[in-house]
């Protein structure tokens, strides 16, 4: 039952993608959307079936591996196409197919009238398949295949509007930066093949302690995996692609660049935790980079003017929290935040998509304003999503972020440093997210709003769009109650069998104390944001240049990699390609001509000359023969 569920869950979106791709024009436009949505819903149903079947087993027996066939076989080493269903994979499967089907359904409304709807739905179904392959993989090889395929589908979907040069540039940027991570990961896998002789999760993790005896080896492996995770999850220093990825359609941003794909890095760390635990420095680096990311991106989000980019930076910041938690060993907390984040961040993106859709594609927040009265339901959804993001009780983010904060502060000096960063991040989160809310929804109606939303026009989009937003709103409200510190923790105990947390558990009293703290901080942030932005006057403080420049990361990469590469290419072009390769073509031509002219000169037509030449040749040969003999 579990195996069937796993395969149906995996293959349903692939089937839909193939059907849409092969169906082509024979398929009605709407049918592509229905097919993709249906397949993800089927996928979700299969995941639920697998969950129920798994819950039927006792806690220690909740791992099922099913093998389809062997992929690679050598005498010492084999890789199978096998799937692993365990609590961790199930959580990811449910999030991907559940949130995924809501977002794909939303796309039916959002993409209506787009000239290439079918291509979009084929891509997005293919993405769902790739992501499910990633999380259901039972060995690192299949995981890497899924890892690469999600990168591919992300590339295709970011560049979906291929007539926009900026979209193409963003797609290439995402792909290239992800390729860096993929390469690092592949190198780590080569090391594992060399030293562990297997890539199966069970086999590798069983040897983790043996591998750990070689400090260099385990650090390199963990570092390779970490670089892969950083690139996929858009963490410093490989984060620059995610804001640009907002060039894609908004549902894509919601599904790939908020709810699922970018959290794959967190999944990888949690999945490979036995390796990371043998390399504590690498794991602490992950936590530190998470903290750095959540601060830096939170600060950059303060000055962004594009509504989607604010949410994108917020995504990076929230994934920073997950990295922080995974880095100190609080896997349950990391995964819990991953799940609630998927709910409220998808909600934020989809609500932003409703706004963008209503305003005819405008994404600049400075041109918005006063939408509260025109789009009351979207406003409520956005308010709840923002509240959950900031961590206001009783919304989802409150519980999950609290768990991370409380675990951080209970874990030594390093943990306290991380905690300080995290609590500063909470303040930033409150500031930028309520800035967004105030800029878009409060104040007077702007020119753009008056123009694109005439009175009495239904503003909030078709039902295909509002229904998923409503469902996600409910999830953002209730999702956090899966786990309440000190009261119940079914989520952590469900995951405990796969990824036992080694972080020190905070005491219940401390947890509640921290909850109070982390309630005061965001309220302060909201108050500041209200004071500055709610009136929507233009007297908002000027943005510091460093933040507008996104802390110079893009510039640094431009200087460090792009320009040297381009100038090297130019140099090679002028020093090697032009003189050697291009000129050699001409040279070959002229020298052939010259040779031909010389040969033609011999060909005088005088028979006696020919004879003389023959005689001379023969004489020389005879002489040579006589001399050399």
């Amino acid at each position: 039952m579990i195996a069937v569920g796993a395969w149906v869950c995996l293959l349903a979106p692939l089937g839909a993608a193939l059907a849409i791709a092969l169906g082509g024009n024979r398929l009605p436009r709407r049918a592509a959307g229905y097919l993709a949505t249906g397949s993800t819903v089927l996928s979700f149903a299969a995941a639920v079936t697998a969950l129920i079947a798994t819950l039927g087993h006792s806690a220690s027996q909740r791992q099922t591996v099913t093998t389809a066939f062997g992929l690679i076989e050598t005498h010492a080493f084999r890789i199978n196409l096998n799937l692993l269903v365990d609590p961790l994979a199930l959580v990811m499967m449910l999030v991907i197919s559940g949130v995924g089907s809501l977002i794909v359904a939303y796309s039916i409304g959002y993409m209506k009238g787009e000239s290439e709807e079918r291509r979009y739905f084929a891509y997005i179904a293919f993405f769902a398949f790739s992501m499910l392959l990633l999380v259901e993989a039972a060995n690192f090889f299949v995981l890497l295949v899924g890892w690469g395929l999600v990168g591919l589908s992300s590339y295709l979907l970011i560049g979906f509007w291929q007539e926009r040069p900026s979209a193409i540039a963003a797609a290439k940027k995402a792909f290239i930066i992800n390729a860096v991570g993929d390469a690092a990961m592949a190198l780590a896998l080569f090391l594992l093949i060399q030293h562990a002789h297997t890539l199966d999760f069970g086999g590798v993790f069983g040897q983790a302690a043996v591998l750990g005896e070689n400090a260099w080896l385990i650090n390199l492996v963990a570092a390779g995996l970490l670089v892969g995770a950083l690139a996929k999850s858009a963490q410093i220093p490989l984060h620059t692609w995610l804001p640009d990825a907002m060039e894609g359609p908004t549902p894509v941003s919601a599904l790939i660049h908020a709810a699922t794909m970018v959290t794959a890095g967190v999944y990888l760390i949690v999945r490979a935790h036995p390796l990371f635990e043998q390399a504590p420095h690498v794991q602490q680096t992950a936590a530190g980079l998470g903290a750095a990311t959540l601060l830096a991106t939170g600060a950059i989000a303060l000055v962004q003017t594009d509504i989607k980019r604010v949410i994108a930076y917020s995504t990076m910041s929230q994934i920073g929290y997950m990295f922080l938690a995974a880095g100190i060993g609080a896997y349950g907390a990391a995964m819990f935040h991953l799940v609630t984040h998927a709910f409220f961040k998808a909600l934020l993106f989809l609500a932003a998509g409703v706004v963008i859709h209503a305003l005819g594609g405008e994404q600049d927040m400075r041109k918005m304003g006063g939408l509260r009265r025109r789009m009351p339901r979207t406003y409520v959804a956005m308010l709840i999503g923002t509240g959950a993001l900031v961590g206001l009780p009783p919304l989802a983010g409150f519980f999950s972020k609290d768990a991370i904060l409380a675990t951080a502060v209970s874990n030594g000096v390093y943990g306290k440093v991380l905690f300080a960063a995290a609590i500063a991040g909470v303040l930033l989160t409150a500031l930028y997210s309520f800035r967004l809310l105030f800029l878009v929804f409060s104040g007077e109606e702007s020119e753009l709003v008056k123009k694109s939303l005439p009175k009495r026009k239904r503003a909030e989009g078709p039902r295909w769009m509002t229904a998923p937003v409503a469902v996600l709103t409910l999830l953002a409200i209730g999702g956090g109650w899966m786990q309440v510190a000190g009261l119940w923790h079914p989520f952590s105990s469900f995951l405990e069998g796969v990824a036992p947390s080694f972080a020190a558990e905070p005491s219940v009293s401390r947890e509640w104390l921290l909850s109070a703290v982390s309630l005061v901080v965001p309220l302060g942030g909201i108050w500041i944001a209200w004071a500055i932005y709610s009136a929507r006057t233009q007297q908002a403080p000027r943005a510091p240049r460093a933040l507008v420049e996104k802390l110079y990361f893009d510039r640094a990469y431009d200087l460090l990699f792009y320009r040297p590469a381009v100038s090297l290419a130019h140099r090679l072009g002028s020093w090697f390609e032009q003189p050697v390769i291009e000129r050699s073509g001409e040279e070959i031509g002229t020298s052939t001509l010259l040779g031909g002219r010389f040969a033609a000169a011999i060909q005088s037509g005088l028979a006696r000359t020919y004879v003389l030449l023959v005689a001379a040749g023969v004489s020389i040969l005879v002489l040579l023969f006589l001399v050399l003999r």
Partner: protein, 102 residues
């Protein structure tokens, strides 16, 4: 071993060949050139036959017969060309015939 030593045959053969070669190289009349060519071939034939006798093998003699057959064919073609040229009142001088086309 009957007759003179093989060296004599070789000397005579080489001499005939050299006379022929000089004729081919120096004369301009195609008729004379053909005759000289014949001399060269027969000089070579003489050497072939001498060696055949010396080694008691018939291979050289057979080969000499083949050379004669080829020489006959060649003379037919060559003389035919010379006659055709004479009929068309083309001057019979190989140095003037250095082009395949006009």
């Amino acid at each position: 071993m009957l007759g003179p030593a093989i060296a004599w045959y070789l000397v005579v053969g080489s001499a005939i060949f050299a006379i022929g070669a000089a004729g081919v190289m120096l004369r301009r009349n195609p008729l004379i050139m053909l005759l000289s060519l014949e001399l060269m071939l027969n000089g070579a034939n003489l050497v072939l036959i001498a060696f055949a006798r010396r080694h008691g093998s018939l291979d050289g003699q057979v080969f000499a017969l083949a050379v004669m057959a080829v020489a006959a064919a060649e003379v037919v073609v060559g003389l035919g060309l010379v006659v055709a040229m004479a009929r068309r009142k083309i001057e019979i001088d190989v140095d003037l015939l250095s082009r395949l086309r006009k």
